[in-house]
Amino acid sequence: MELLIFLILFPLLIAGLLAVIQAEHVRRAVVISGAVLVGIASLVALAFSVTSQAVFYSVPVNNIGILVFIGDILISGYIIFVSLKARQYVVTGITVIQLILLCAVEYLALTNHAHIPELFSDQLSGIMSAIIGVIGGLICVYALGYMREYHAEHPDRPDTRPRFFGIMFLFLSAMFGIIFSNNLLWLFFFWEITTLCSYLLIRYPNTDEAIKNAFRALLFNLIGGACIPIAFLVILLTGESELIGLHELVSAGPGLALIPAGLIAVAGLAKSAQFPFSSWLVGAMVAPTPVSALLHSSTMVKAGVYIIARFAPVFEGELIGILIALIGGITFLAASAIAISQSNAKKVLAYSTIANLGLIVACCGVGTAEGLWAAILLIIFHAIAKSLLFLSVGTVEHQIHSRNIEDMSGLVTKMPRITMMILIGIAGMFLAPFGMLISKWASLHAFVESVPPFGILLVIIIAYGSGITAFFWAKWMGKLIAVGEPQQKDESHIPGSEKSILYILSALTIVVCFGFPVISWYLIEPWLLTMYQSVTELISLSNIEIMFMMLFLVLIMPFSLARFTRSATRVPRYLCGIPESETMVFTGSCGIKREIELSNYYLDTIFCEKRISRISVGIGIFLIVLILNIIIVGGGL
């Protein structure tokens, strides 16, 4: 299993190369070849995981644990340095606490040594690696064209692109590290690298706002991250030092694993931007769009839900699991509601990411096999559709110089191809027969049977959230296709690399929608079988048939489109006045010429961002503290 080492170290090598290369065309070649190799290697890892059982691998290097510890110290040292320089003393304080805890952990781990394999790989790792490798790689390639335009548009901002691309690949490397680590000390090391990378990427524009938001992201992730060393202390103090292995911990069952798992899940909640931590992810959109795409789709937030999904079997039927699920459910509802009131496309995407992660967390917290099945499907669908959406919005933003949804009115005539891809992305996010719907369906199936009456509480939350999501996505779709005056078609300025990445992602969205039963049969169900021993028939054949029929229906639609568009006689729209030829102007009362201008509903009296986030942050803090209380009380007993 040298492949795992390759996937962790190769992006690191590319990162190192990119950091020193100054010439743009060389960087281009390195990024593209690096992304292609990483993508292929990650797909190979996926293919291996289909055929084999979980594979464990001990790194044949002596004292490598010390190296990881030194790495941890270096990261903390760097964070302490920058936070002191920026006078962010809270960040410094938390880092220092974390470092002290970690030293205690190392002290105990050295005296009380258990040999466990450092790395491992199973079907879930395979799926995650494909997501990170393929989508992460595509985003890096997309960033080439995007960042060139970005700096042409913002000449005032420092151009440190070599470092930027270096960090992007470092991020991928750390993500591979997280998903392949069996030793939790290693996982924590990579975890901290992703926190650091996201900080560096968010502050890239180097404006005051960017720096402020970067520190907020750092702070929230450190607060969450501090729970992990505490979990290690709990593990080591109870004397079972081999439980420091992820696989060993999960197999130990709730009796031993629940408290450490709960603590690590709190870190996962922070990383996956659940309430009360969610504001860091919204703030992160000051960064260039490829960064947002990377943070939102394949890395960072996915690390958070990944670790919660890993511990899901431990949470089944436990109060801590229910509370985590409730945090997820409330996040789903609140973030969707806030998304209604937003007109900034990136903000809508950010809130919808938070909402979807909430749904994933809810599915994991419930911890049943069905819930986990839905969660993994959601992770896959969300990664692809969300990266497609972010990147297309980034492309549109560079063309129309606005990220406001209102300015995208009639975009379908100006950029038909890009609009088509946004529509595919949105459809992938909420419409039947695409992915998200399958997941929503599965999660409702999962919740209705789990831990009464809490399962029903989650069902009610999902029921409300479901209608809300339909509202904000559909009105965005409507804006794109509402054509007042056809605009000149103009897609020629879009860099070829951006366009081809968008094509690939759209194709992937559709392929995954078609192929989800295959993914389910060959990857998710075998994995669940090893986790839960017995798995009921998760998705019966008839339902798959029906979904395929619906997919088929959607696919024949484009052909009917051609027929209908030709057959109609064009007439001016009804304006309750005299239309001036076929333009958007009409003669109103007293002969005044008026132009029509339409805008979407944002319903911000009901779905006020400030109020809803204040309430849900409150609920979130309450639930988190409740979880910590239960852990303390449970640990004391």
């Binding site: 029921a463 209608g467 559909a474 409507g478 619906m550 057959s567 729209r573």
Partner: protein, 282 residues
Amino acid sequence: MNPFLAAALFIILAPVVGVLITGLDRILTARMQGRVGPPVLQPWYDIRKLFQKKQVAVWGAQSFFIFCYLIFIIFTGALFFAGGDILLVIFAFTLGHVFLVLGAYVSYSPYAHIGAERELIQLMAVEPMIIIVAIGLYQVNDSFLVGDMINHPGLPILLLPGVFLGFIYILTFKLRKSPFDLATSHHAHQELVKGSTTEFSGFTLGMIELAHIYELVVMLGFIWLFFGNNLFLSAVAIVVIMVLEILVDNCTSRVRWQDAITSAWFVTLVAGAGNIFALSIM
């Protein structure tokens, strides 16, 4: 019954049943208003005439979306009567409506635009309750399949009174009846002209009318599920509820969208969510 046969029967018979119900609705409405009213088959004459008219539109794509709307509503109904998964039916229903909304957006007409926005608000108002209906029926029948639900030997409504009430409440939205006919109403003399359907005419409008008729039959089918295999009681319930809806339609005026959505969500929470929550505790 064979699911394919049931689906085929739905596709053929639903327009007949739907046209008759709509025709009787119009006569009853007229009588309540002191008029004689049109013949029972008037809805059918209307649709036939619409299909014969010349096709005009602001943009050709309009009829494409409406075609999708019709297809999905028929598909959903067929899935329902074939005994399929009720959650899937509900989600496919939502998808169908999104197509209607998109069709209204395309024209960029102010009236259709506001109609589309309101259509979405209605969708958002109704969705939680419909999902809760599915969950409630699951709790009683232990299955999400409509095919199993119609064989329930007892009366699920006895366990689901709140869910039933909530469903009746949102049924008014679904039947586009006052006070919740925000997006488009059966009458053109309102502030939005014909709202979301303003820019549709001829064949396209005919498809919308046909889709509404299919939808009506499916919504009434939901009432049936509350009475299990007791066909007589469910028929009585359907008649009573239709008369009630018509009465409400005739003696209320349209509410503002704020009131519509908040009241629908409130009723959903109190009657529907409370009911299924209680069931899960028991």
